[in-house]
Each structure stands twice: as C-alpha cells, then as structure tokens.
Symmetry: C2
Subunit: 417 residues, 2 copies
C-alpha cells in the first residue's frame, strides 16, 4: 500500500456537458468507495457546484457532500445526460488556480478529480504544480470528456460516441426526408476545432463510401471538416454537381470550417459577429452559419430567370450533446474512466490524465481499456482528425468508418424502395 495522505476528495464537471458525463461522476464515486474510502484515506467525497467555481466559493455552499449517496440514486444520475453537479466555462489561469488550491486546503481536499476536456486537464496540471510548490499534498486527476473527441493520447473521449450516435441517427433520417422531397439540405454540426463529430455523419450510410464520387455516395453526399480548407467556390461546384445528377444533395458541415488561411468561414456569412466570453465568435445556439450557407447556395445555384432550388439548413444544436439515449459503449467507457481515476489515486499516482486505449477492433469484438498519461500530454492540446480518416476535399475514409462505427452502437436498419 503506497503512502497516501488522508483527507477528503472532490469531483467536478467542466465545459460543455455530454450524455454520459454523469457516468464518469458515478465512476469516480464508486471507485473511491471501493478503494480509498474503504481504506480510510478518503473521509468525505464532495462534488463541486459548477466546476471549480464551487471550490473557490467561501464556505461550503459551492460543495455538495456525496459521501452518503446511495447506489440506486447514483445509477439513475449516471443514466441522466448533462452535468448533474453543474458545469462552468471558466478556464482557470495561475491566479484562479491559487484560489482553487486555497479551496482545497480549506476543505482538507487531498484528492482532486476534474471531468472535462483539455482545459480541465490544464487546470489539474496547474493546481497540481502549485500544490507541490506549496508543499501541500494534493493528488490531481483529469477524467476525459468531450463530444469533440479532440483529446490527445485517447482513442476516443467519453461523450463523443453518444454525440456521434445522435448525428448518425439524425443524418440517416434526414437523408430519407431529403430523398422524399428533393432539394439541398445543409446540416451544421458541432466541433469548432476538430471534425470528428461532423465525420460521424458518414455513419448514416450504413457502410463506408469507399472513395466514390459525391453523387454516387449514399447520403450524406458531402462532408466538410475543419481540418480540410473550405472554399465557397468549390462548395458550390460540389453541391451543383450532386444536385444536377440526383435532384437532391445532403450535406454535413462542421461549424468550424475554415478557409485556406485558417480563418473561420462562419463570421463571413453571419449577420453579426457575436463574441462570447472567451473572445470566440458564437457558433452554437445560432442558425447563422447554416442560414448563410443556404443563402450562398440559393444565390449561386439559381439559374438566370429560373426558380431557386429548395434549400434547407438545420443547425444541430445542444441536443447533439444531451440526447438522453447514449451509445451503450460510451456509457460503459465513461463509467470506466471515472473508476480508473480513483484506482490511480489508490495506487499512489500523484497526478494523471486517464486515457482510453482500444484493445481490439475486430468486427463485433470492439474492446477498450483505460490507461494513464501525464497531464501535460493532454492539457491544452487539441487532437485533429488525422489524414488517414479524410478522403479528398469533402468526405471521410473507410478507415474512419472502421474506427467510429463500433463506438456508436447498433443503428436502425433502414430500407428504401
């Protein structure tokens, strides 16, 4: 048994919620109860209200005591989407992390678990370093979460498979809607810097397109990722070619598409460039990019004196990250990474980011496992869709299909006349 400090544990949830982030919360609690709480090193298990915001509040109003939560309640919360503790968009800097450390000291926290993306890993890293410098024994663990699937070291991140499942289901239904009435349908999908979720639109095909030209692919015919530079001229030509042949065209496009200089397309097409708290243009919770692309297509594809094609745009909003029927694989993985973080703590690890490793991708035999990485390997860094998952300028590859399909679970088998 390693020499471990005795005190309390705290768990927080950060950033955009997912359908399974509460599985990770339940996993950490379960793992602590099976380990450090049994051996006596962890006395109380606290939850932070709205992430680190809860920890920097004076008094205990920002913390909720989860020590005595019963298993039935915990299981029900685990099956509930979104962050049960509340979440935050705060990205702590050095000064903020000092306050977090003070909050840990004030509550005798010796085990710090933070469920989130690369910013949350960075928070763990800074807090861990500050604690060490101050000679305060604090063990810090990052538990991965993000629908964007953009954490390094991970095969995939909890939250992504469920969002990918939603996108695949939505595109599958929408493809048939588009086929039944014709016209051009644009679907704008979340993922500002990484196109994994937009790529998952391809799973609606019930098989890889294997490099077929756009009009010969099963829908979606065109997929645009932020990793591939976007040109409005090429976009119009792509759409026109598919529409001319089929009388319809289904498109999946990432909210984060960029031109060849790396500049985002959205602001160029948007009414007003609204800027959020981090200085970013607001892409989600607004139909502006979709409507802008639709206007572009209507203007570009209407023959002189002729009738505009039927063009519709749907912007997939928050539902893609909180749909209450998660991918079964995702629910299991998200629980496992939480439990594993508590196990790392029990083994005497001082700080780590839990990662997911794929053990087997044999057909019908997908298996994954948890492992550890150093916080700095994950913190603040972004994983992008790799080249081998991309096919040409407007599609994904068969390799992406093989990678992603086991994650989303069985999809309905659809048939058509």
């Amino acid at each position: 048994m390693p020499d471990l400090p005795a005190g309390n544990a705290v768990i927080g949830q950060s950033g955009g919620p997912t359908a399974v982030i509460n599985q990770s919360l339940a996993g950490v609690i379960e793992g602590l109860k099976a380990g450090l709480a049994t051996s006596g090193q962890v006395k109380r298990i606290f939850g932070m209200r709205h992430g680190v915001r809860g920890l920097v509040k004076t008094g205990s109003e920002g913390l909720v005591d989860l020590t005595g939560i019963d298993k039935a309640k915990l299981d029900q919360i685990a099956r509930t989407p979104s962050a049960a503790l509340g979440s935050t968009r705060d990205k702590p800097d050095e000064a903020y992390c000092e306050k977090i450390l003070a909050g840990c000291r004030a509550n005798d926290i010796r085990y710090f678990f933070y469920i989130g993306g690369n910013d949350s890993a960075d928070t763990c890293r800074i807090v861990s370093e500050k604690a060490e410098a101050a000679g305060y024994e604090l063990n810090c663990f990052h538990v991965p979460k993000t629908i964007d699937n953009d954490l390094l070291e991970n095969d995939h991140t909890p939250g992504f498979p469920s969002a990918a499942r939603y996108v695949a289901m939505a595109l599958a239904g929408d493809a048939l809607d588009n086929a039944s009435l014709g016209g051009i349908k644009i679907n704008v999908i979340m993922g500002r810097n990484a196109g994994f979720l937009t790529a998952a639109a391809s799973l609606a095909r019930q098989g890889a397109a294997d490099g077929a030209p756009p009009a010969d692919r099963p829908a979606p015919h065109l997929i645009y990722l932020p990793e591939v530079s976007f040109s409005t001229d090429a976009f119009l030509a792509d759409v026109e070619a598919v529409y001319a042949k089929l009388g319809r065209c289904q498109i999946a496009v990432s909210e984060g598409i960029r031109d060849k200089t790396g500049a985002e397309i959205a602001p160029k097409l948007m009414r007003s460039g609204e800027v959020d708290a981090h200085g970013n243009i607001q892409l989600s919770g607004s139909g502006a990019l979709g409507d802008g692309l639709a206007d572009l297509v209507k203007t570009g594809l209407t023959p002189k004196g002729g009738k505009a094609p039927r063009v519709r745009a749907d912007t997939f909003g928050y539902i893609q990250r909180c749909w209450p029927e998660p991918s079964p694989v995702d629910a299991i993985d998200a629980r496992a990474v939480g439990r594993y973080a508590a196990e790392l703590a029990a083994r005497g690890d001082r700080s780590a980011s839990v990662i997911i490793v794929r053990i087997s991708n044999a057909p019908d035999a997908y298996r994954s496992d948890c492992a550890r990485a150093d916080l700095k390997a994950v913190a603040r860094r972004t994983r992008h869709v790799p080249a081998e998952f991309i096919s040409g300028a407007n599609d994904v590859s068969a390799a992406f299909d093989a990678y992603c399909r086991p994650l989303v679970g069985d999809l309905p088998k659809l048939a058509w006349l």
Copy 2:
C-alpha cells in the same frame, strides 16, 4: 360481399414525411392483400412516385408496382422513417385533379389511397367527386398523417406521437444542459398553425406543471403556442422573471406564433422574408426565428452597461419528423389506419377518411381504434389546440399532459442532484 369494381389500386404519400408514414403504406398493402387482392377485385397494387405527381406522369415511370413485395422487405420499409415512395408538396386544384383522374383511368385504378394531411384529404374529395361526375367508378380513401396533429375528427394523427416523443426527449436533455451552464435557451419547434408539437415540450417535465407560475415549473418554464397571441413585451417580461429567479430559463416556442392581429411573429424578426412555393414564409430549415428571438432577449435583458445574459437558440429542424426511433404507439396506429383504409374499401365504402378514436385513457391502458369520417369533414380544415389544453399565456394544462403522455411511450427516467 358488396358489389365492387375490379381493377388496380394505387397508394401515395404526400406532404412532410413522418417517422411512421411507411407503416401506413405497409398497412394499406397488407390490408389489400388480406382482402381485395385475395378476392380478386384488386389485381395490381401500385405506388405513386412523389404522390400525385407520379400519377399524372405519362406512361408508368411515375408508378412502382408493389404487388409482389415480400413481407420482410415491407416490414423493413415500415420501420424506416420518411416517405419511401417519395412525397410532394403539390396541392392539386380542380384542373390537377382532372389529370389525376386521367392517370387513374389510364392505369385502370379503381382504389385510390392517399396518405397525408388535410390537403391530401381534399385531393381525395375532389378526385372522388370528379370520378363520380364522370361515371368512372373510383373509390378514394384518405389515410391520416401529420406531425402537426391538426386533422379534425382524429384523437391524434399518425406521425405526431413520434415527433412529440422526439421533442419531449430533446427538451428533457436540453433542460439539464441549460441547468448545468445557466442562461436562456430558446427552442423553436415545428407546427405552423397548430401548437400540439410545441405543447409536447411539456412532457419533458415528467409530470404536469399543474398551473405553477413559470419559475416554479420544472423546465421548460415557458411554452408559446400559435393558438395564444404572442407579444414580444410579455415574452421579455416572462423570460426576465424566470431568469431573475433561477439564473436560467428554458423556452419552447412554436415557429407559428402570432400577434393579437393574427400576424406571424417570425417575419418581423427575420433577416429576409423568404417565400416558398405556396406563398408562405419559410419557417423550417432556417434558424431565423430562433436567432431573432435570441437577439430580442439579449437586447431586452442586458442591464445598462452590464453583461448580456447567455442566450442560445436551437431551431428543431427536419430531424423532429424523421428521427428513426418512433413512438411504439405511433408505429402501431400508423399501420392500423392503413390497414383500415383497405378494409373500408373491401366493405364497399366509396370514399372516406380514416380517423383514430381513443377508446381508453386509463393509466397504462391507453387504447385506440380506427373509424371512418366523410372526406369533407377532414379536408382542408385545421384542428387547433383546444382551450382545455392551454394554461394561461405561456403553458399547457394537466389535461394536455394526460392526453399526450400515453402517445409518446416511456421516456427515460432522469435524476438530478
């Protein structure tokens, strides 16, 4: 056995597709095979490609022969959302109906089945009257379908329960997303003239709100239907009151909200008033109303010199009518109305609209049955949300909850800290 003509049957699908419109197609085919096709009155069963468009085409390219379709394939198509035959937005007038009648004569059609909304019922009515006037024996049946739930005589219409299920699931997840990060969330839901689908947002509450004031209701806190006149001032006051108390507010709003003069709100808030083929402003496939309402809230609720609240708008697009996991009740009802139409034909009915009647609404004992109505009782008429389903200016009643809940099937049981 009634004296029935011998010839062919034709089935078409019209208007916006639904998740279960193919169940009705399968139902008509099954019903014909079990009745008139066995007795010899129906020789061939045709499907119209893209509704009546397929029937007015010369030659047979607009028709598909479904006589020999096997049961396994038919069942798979029935489980597939959207109109497998293709759909159309055409609303036939007298001249168009003459062409339909000519198409029927050319293909020896004696049984005409049209799956759609009140316009489709009207097409059946006109074609039936023209056939009678011409002395051509043609039996015409309307099979109900619309996510808007706006057909008279019907307890509910096939397609609505599945769309309502999607809306309830989406609002349930979104409510927790809104709770975890705070702010104001606007969800724009389909249903231009009838608010049933928007009302279904209330099912996310897992129980009726029983007349509680907005901030004391489980989310969604505010529900705006086209049947209740909408004032932007009252809307802002409603949102402000909830937000002031809770730091968040979840809103469900119909795309068809109108002011006290009956004028639609959407065009007043939209960038450009796009007009569709029927002279209507395009509400779906665009985020414009949601973004306009969000702008209104941001402008109206930002304190002088202060920070704007976090406001997000999602416009529920085509996914709400084509999500590939229907309500189980809906799938059964949609199959039943199709079969019943074929049975009416076998009984010698000359023309009718199939309707759904609720037999029992006892808890856990919901049952419905099919019946007939005259085409003119359904054709071109619109059912609105009745007064007893509405509660005040921004909510629905417990009676609506009791009406709607059995239709959508079991919803996930969610829990929160």
